[in-house]
Symmetry: C2
Amino acid sequence: MTKKIGKQTLKLQYPPTIAATAAVVGQKEGQGPLKRYFDYISDDSYFGEKTWEKAESTMLKQCFTLCCSKGKVSPEELDFVFSGDLLNQCVGSAFAMKDTNVPYFGLYGACSTMGESLTLAAMTIDGGFAGTVCALTSSHFCSSERQYRFPLEYGGQRTPTAQWTVTGSGAAILKSNGNGPFITHVTPGKIVDAGIKDANNMGSAMAPSAYETLKAHFEDTGRSPDYYDLIVTGDLGVLGHDTLEDLFRHDGMTLGKSYNDCGILIFDIQKQDVHAGGSGCGCSASVFASYIMQGFAENRWSKVLFAPTGALMSPTSSQQGDSIPGICHAIAIEKTL
Amino acid sequence: MTKKIGKQTLKLQYPPTIAATAAVVGQKEGQGPLKRYFDYISDDSYFGEKTWEKAESTMLKQCFTLCCSKGKVSPEELDFVFSGDLLNQCVGSAFAMKDTNVPYFGLYGACSTMGESLTLAAMTIDGGFAGTVCALTSSHFCSSERQYRFPLEYGGQRTPTAQWTVTGSGAAILKSNGNGPFITHVTPGKIVDAGIKDANNMGSAMAPSAYETLKAHFEDTGRSPDYYDLIVTGDLGVLGHDTLEDLFRHDGMTLGKSYNDCGILIFDIQKQDVHAGGSGCGCSASVFASYIMQGFAENRWSKVLFAPTGALMSPTSSQQGDSIPGICHAIAIEKTL
C-alpha cells in the first residue's frame, strides 16, 4: 500500500491544500525586487529584542501568528507544527514556538528546512494524522554571521562566491480540505557530498544535491522539466544555479526557461551587493510564502516544483577540514488536481 | 479520516514492527548495569578518529550499519532515515549518514530525538509512505562537554544536579510487515517551559514536559499507568524522575512501580560518579535499543511506554538569560496487537 513511486518520490493520495502563507522579512529584503509580495518588512533588525537570536525568534513567531491569522486558524486548531532553523540547537524555532501549545516537531535541514517541513507536514495530512498543520522556518543575517563567520563589528571581507543570509521567515498552513493549491508529490532528498570544502561557496556545494533530487523527481514521476511553469531551487545563488544547469546539460537535458533560484530572486544581486545571492532557511521560505504562492493567485503559474537546498555543515566540521554535504527536498505544488 | 485520538495522540492503523535495534556505547556506559545488553562497547572514545565530533559520527554510522545487519536489511532497502543529534547543525548525523544514499530527514529534538525519530518513522510507515525506515540518534560525552560546558582539559567542577552525557547511539529499523513488537500509539509533545534557568539541572527543566505528554497520553488513550509493564522517560535523571512523580502526585495519581528513567538505568549513579544520572540523545536511544527492546524478547515486559525528553536550549540562549523549554514524545510499544 506504499505511495512511493520510483526511487524516492511520494505521490500523495489526499493532496493537502496550502491554505495560507506568510512572509516576514528585514529591511534589505524589503528593498529587493520582491518587496510587494512580503506581508511585513521590519525596519528594526532587532525586531524589538536585545539580541539577534531573540530577534530571529520574534520574527518567526510574528510570521507564525500572521499566517494563522491569514488562514483564519487559531493555534489551538493546529494538530502539529514542523519548524527548524540555522541557530545552534535550533533555538530560533524552539523559543518562537514554546508558548503556542501545539505539538512540535523540530527539524534540522539547514537552508532546505522549508522543503523538509512542507514535506513532513504534507505527509502528516495525507497519512490521516492531522487536518491542519503549520510548516515554517527562519534565518537572520546577524545571528548567522556571528555564528558561522565573523562578528559583524569585525567588518570581514566577503569573497565573491559568498552568499548573503536572508533575514526572513516563511510559514505555511496546510489543510486536509481545501481548493488548492495542492501539494501533489514530494521527493525527499538524499545527502550528496561532492567534496566541496569552501564554506564561502555554498551554492556549488549544494548544487549536486539539487541535481540528484530533481533528477529523481523527473524519473520517478515521468515528468519532464517543461511540465512545470516554475522550477525553483533553494538558495543556490548565481554560481549554484549555473552549476545545476551544467550538471543537467551533461545529461543532455535542460531545466529550461522556467528554472530560477530563490537566492537570485530575493535580491537585486548587483545593486544590493550580495555577491552570489541570498541564502539561509529564510531565503527559500520567504520567497515561497510570498512571491511563489501569490503567483498562483495571480495566475502567473499553476504548476511549481519547489526545491529548497541545504548545506549540512557546521563551523566545527569546516574547521576540521570536512567537506560540505548538501541536501535538497522537492515539492510539487499544483493549482488543480 | 484522522487517526488522532483525544488531544494529541495518534493511534496507528497499521502499527509498524520494530524489526531490529542496535546500541553502540562508550567505555563508561559499558561498565554500567546495562553492560550485557549493548551490541558494542568501544574502549576508544575517539572511535579511531582524530576529533570527538568525528568520533560521534563514526559511532553513529557503526550503530546504523550494525542495525541494518541485525535486521538483515541493506541500506538500499531503506525508504527513509530519520536522525539528529546534539552537535551544532546536527553534523553528527549528517556526516554519519552522508554516504548511505538513503533519503534523509534531519531532526532536532535535543535528548528527545529518539522519540521524535521513532514517532515520525512510525507515522511514515503507517501512512503508507514506506515499508522500511530507520530511526537513530547519538551523543558523545566529549563533544557535548566541549560544546555545552567547558573544555575537558579545564577540569571544571560539576554541580550535584548535573547529568553525565552518554557516549552512545541507538538505532531502530521499523517495518510495515512483521510480528512485533509494534508501535501502536504515539503522543508527540508540546514544548513546555516551566521557567527553569539552571543549565546544570536539566532533569527539572524537562520533567514538566514529560508530565504534560504522559498526562495527554493517558487521557487520550483512556489508559492508566498500570496498563504498561514499563513506563520509561528519557533522561530526567534522579531529580527529574522525582519531580515527575511529584507532579503526578499533585494530581492524585501515581506512575507506580513500573516507572523508571533511562538516565537512571544506564549508570550506577553512586559508583560511577555521574551525579544526577545520564543524559544526551544517546542515553534514551541506547537504553531503548538494548535493555528495553531485549526485555520484550526476554519476556520481562510486553507493554512499554517510552518517553524520551529533551531540553530545547543552547549555550547562547542560556547565556542570554533565557529559560530552558522542554519537550517529550511518548511511544507505546506492545508485543502483540
